[in-house]
Symmetry: D2
Subunit: 360 residues, 4 copies
């Protein structure tokens, strides 16, 4: 069971509401003797921190993380690591006027129907604020992978499609991603994307995005068929991110249109080095990593909280309309980039440990 826990051997449990006193997570199953500093986690958190550009929510959160347990004299001890981030800029009053209304496209309606109660302030538990806790967990997963897999290991993520505009992924440049407000890997698209997103913001609308996550240096053999296939766990991880509606591994949905000979990645050996002629599989065959780069992408739907007026009902069963004025991202997809990176790190570490248990 895993309502608020993710993972099997490397497990994290997140807690906290958007406008409660704090959010946080507990990491259980982390190997001991890994060097972890608050700064390692902070670095990752800063990537998804709100208020960094005009294209993300203006909520001001320093998102300072504290380690409360599990690290002793700078090293993990193998016991649970408790991380806490206090909430700061909680303008709960922004939500008073929508407390009885269900925002279309939001979890408001379903949370209320399921639990019979909901913390309406900022979406409560359903807020994307929860993802800060995952990014913190992912930062620790990354530290472990770096130690276990060495320098070959490399993970990165970027927005590869902003609304209707794609980018050229063959121009992928890790170094620019977190240096532009769209987390775009292709320098040549920055201007176009900026213009596009400004127009959307101005219109009080929003757009969706596609995020791609890539991991290099992953050993062959990670993945536990049949129901903990590496790709099945990745799909679950990505789909658990707020607003995600689709997940692709390698060629993904597009593989339906390929022929058998186009799709199957030919294998050859050149000077004892294994080579695949293509990577439609996204680095995963039969649910197990093949040693190729792991390639995952997922779609984030457009922000549902928009200025434009939308028809809805309230909790008293009356028809009404809503226009959300709070502080919102015109494209929530952008901040999903470090989250995708964190989730993939966690899944990979989890499978690394599982494989170590059963097969090495």
């Amino acid at each position: 069971m895993s309502f608020n826990t993710f993972g099997k051997l490397f497990r994290f449990t997140t807690w906290g509401e958007s406008h409660g006193p704090a959010i946080g997570c507990i990491i259980d199953g982390c190997p001991p003797l890994i060097q972890v500093k608050e700064q390692d986690i902070q670095k990752e958190l800063d990537k998804r921190k709100p208020g960094q550009s005009k294209f993300t929510t203006q909520r001001k959160e320093s998102d300072k993380v504290q380690i409360l347990s599990g690290v002793f004299e700078g090293k993990t001890t193998g016991t649970p690591i408790s991380l806490i981030i206090y909430n700061e800029d909680m303008r709960s009053k922004d939500y008073k006027n929508i407390k009885d209304k269900f925002r279309p496209g939001h979890a408001d309606f379903t949370y209320f129907k399921k639990y019979g109660i909901r913390d309406y302030r900022g979406g409560g538990r359903s807020s994307a604020r929860e993802t800060a806790a995952r990014v913190a967990a992912g930062a620790i997963a990354k530290k472990v992978l770096q130690k276990k897999l060495g320098k070959k290991f490399r993970i990165s993520a970027a927005v590869t499609q902003l609304g209707i505009l794609g980018c050229d992924t063959t121009k992928w440049n890790d170094k620019i991603i977190y240096k532009n407000p769209f987390f775009c890997p292709d320098n040549s698209m920055l201007k176009t994307w900026e213009k596009y997103l400004l127009s959307i913001r101005k219109a009080g609308s929003s757009c969706g995005a596609i995020i791609e996550v890539r991991a290099k240096g992953i050993p062959t053999g990670l993945g536990a068929p049949i129901y903990s296939k590496l790709d099945a766990d990745i799909a679950s991880a990505m789909m658990s991110i707020n607003a995600v509606k689709g997940v692709n591994i390698g060629s993904g949905m597009n593989s339906a249109q390929l022929s058998g000979e186009e799709n199957s990645d030919e294998i050859s050996l050149n000077k004892k080095k294994l080579k695949f002629n293509s990577n439609n599989a996204g680095g995963i065959l039969g649910g197990i990593s093949s040693g190729q780069e792991i390639i995952v992408s997922f779609a984030v739907k457009p922000t549902s909280s928009i200025l434009k007026s939308r028809k809805t009902i309230n909790k008293f069963g009356k028809n009404t309309s809503i226009s959300v004025r709070g502080r919102h991202d015109p494209c929530v997809g952008i901040r999903a980039v470090p989250i995708g990176e964190a989730m993939l790190s966690c899944v990979l570490l989890d499978h690394y440990l599982m494989n170590k248990a059963q097969c090495n």
Copy 2:
């Protein structure tokens, strides 16, 4: 942990290899007092049975299921239900010539690298034959859902894209799906698809497919945020099916291209009846069912075992080539239709039980 087990409260564990003596599954957590006959399961199994048309593998399997436990005097007792299907038409010799080669696009290479050993006969455990066991489990899930949700509950699945050819899903007709060899829901496409698939078969090639699964009559409130969101569990379920590379909920990957106002499904009440103006969400908001129809689709890559010669290596580390002559489906996606139906049934029942535990 769940290497070969799927589900949380309604759990099934599958076992068996393509060319071993039998395959089967154990269902644990099934509610008691549900009427189940072997015939109920057989009916579903017959849908994915090989050898039914020239478009599916010519392997002859009667796929007769036997109930070995958990049903007493025609009713489930709440104890584990053990189902067994003996393998019959096992031409293992077909595989002798490829026993040391890794078929590109197959799990051959990764299983061997992970475990250091593999049952090469027909793909062993990685064979799609395993899915018969899931269909059997799904048949029981369906019986339980029918009893618990009543007549409103309805689940169906179909191929909505065959290779490069789509169909018109507004013409969806449940009644024709299992009466045509492509499990197509749109009568108008049958001729075109037949011609297309014949040409692919003749060329010794294969094609992919997109399968869509729909469920009606699902109550509001199923889904357990954050990491057992209904959509996260569905994504994991579908991605665990052999050859699946992408999963969409509702508008799926396409939602990246929608604007906020196009995407968010407006809500209204008409004579006390709740109405959503659209269903981009695929019936799931914040990981919880909204009461709308659940809509899921997934892409199945083209069959990797093809006649056309492909470059590969063998287990001795030599370059070689391969051409697979066995009995294979030109489009494995077709037989994934009842599997998708089964997996969704299992996920829905699982969440129905979880919701019953926590919230009702």
Copy 3:
């Protein structure tokens, strides 16, 4: 997997070290709409609080609990409940002189061997301080059970044997338990026990104890055969408490000496009321509650940290000796009383929810 998580549907995860900044727990799967105040939890925590009598450790901890999430406007929301207790009286220097030595009978040696590192301050994670977090979780479980089972539900625990001295359990009086420093249910033994424990304390020694936990008003049908039998889960729960070495259900170890006719509890109906003539089964048959009172007992070994000098080795592999001067309970078993109560509450609620899911 459950390194630091207990439970299946009602799950809590504890974290924190004896001398770190704080300890706490996350409760996941709690039903919504349960009224919970910090005071409800504090009341239970105060029972196990150190420093309340001369027979328990003199460490001063106010053990003030704070609710950080999952409760909104006084009611649970169905989302994770995060509880935190800050550590206060951390005299870490008390432990400097034993930081390299392994205390016999302690987890020092095994933690160091397993993890290659240990937080030696007060036992770190292996300290009984962790149990405060469980008591907090148990307080919430109790609130849920009270709402779900109504007034019939009653749980209580007591020390029934202090070292070599038993008490008369037929004189069990709930009201006096938390009013005497030994948490003894039998008024007639208080004087004798006081004299006995004073002599042990004076000698710089310690003694063990047996704790009995009883629960009334438990419905028939809780328990999930075979491997989540109610008694199997209770045994696991109790054995997970620090220093526990044995667990009995009903007649327990003593049942080996009974004859078949003495042991099997005869059943009869009197005016439509079911009656068992005895309760050797401790309220559990075939792993399922029978409707009788649940009776569990467990043995807590004597405190291993004693003044008397003991032979041991240090982490450099040298023979040495140790005498522990810190603040310790002469009988740790006493403070295990509220812990046993908390653990049984959690197991019962967990099975209540599981039974609701599968069978009601």
Copy 4:
């Protein structure tokens, strides 16, 4: 969740009823490349086979096990191992006269109340027949442990108390255990026990027993605090065996009566060899193995199915009496010996794998 599944990384799921067509189990998570033959499993099954002496049930079962999957060319492949044992001597008619009555001390009443239906033939799922499936799983766990831990590893179990008669465990002799009908390790007690058990059988009564299980050659570091402590998992494992009512680790319940200095096992080094001066801890400190011999004991209550007439009720709510004539063991505890051995093997392997994942 684990209704009928035991274990975390090495998991087995059992299925089947006493008088159904077969029983069996699926083992998931077994490491690959372990040599396993049906004969390895059969050898263990033969130890608990009924009908081997006049002191065990006269039901005739050859209990022939078949491997249906997961083993290829004599070696495990890392995929699920399915084992089946067909039932043979099913005299269901023996149970007709008790089909509506609840046998006191049995699971009859609770199964019926929980599920609303029960397979009354021979106890159905609650029959001790289920334990054959565990013994089969344990046989495989033992093979893995033998390969991983080498020759130092040794596990054995025996009856150390038969009803009111103990034996001298310092005279423990592995070689005689399965050569006497009481699975007694002390040669000097055989005559006395025989006389005693004959008298009980003659009286139509039954007696309980205490079984002790010992494991040598277990490395330091197995066990996952806090809630998967090695002893907590052992307690759960043993308590899940039919008719078990108490579990001790090392000095167990008796440790309550020891003083701190008697109880804590002193440690010393002699020529670089670690030595504990005693083993009250039963080889486990803080939930982690210390490298000492693991010592576990558990009590099995007397057989509830006895000839002597007992008061009970039937399912129509009427008072009645019952006298069970079927084929029953005068002391079911005896056949629990190989079961205890199997369960401990499974727990140890499970923790061996968990430790490998997190700590090595």
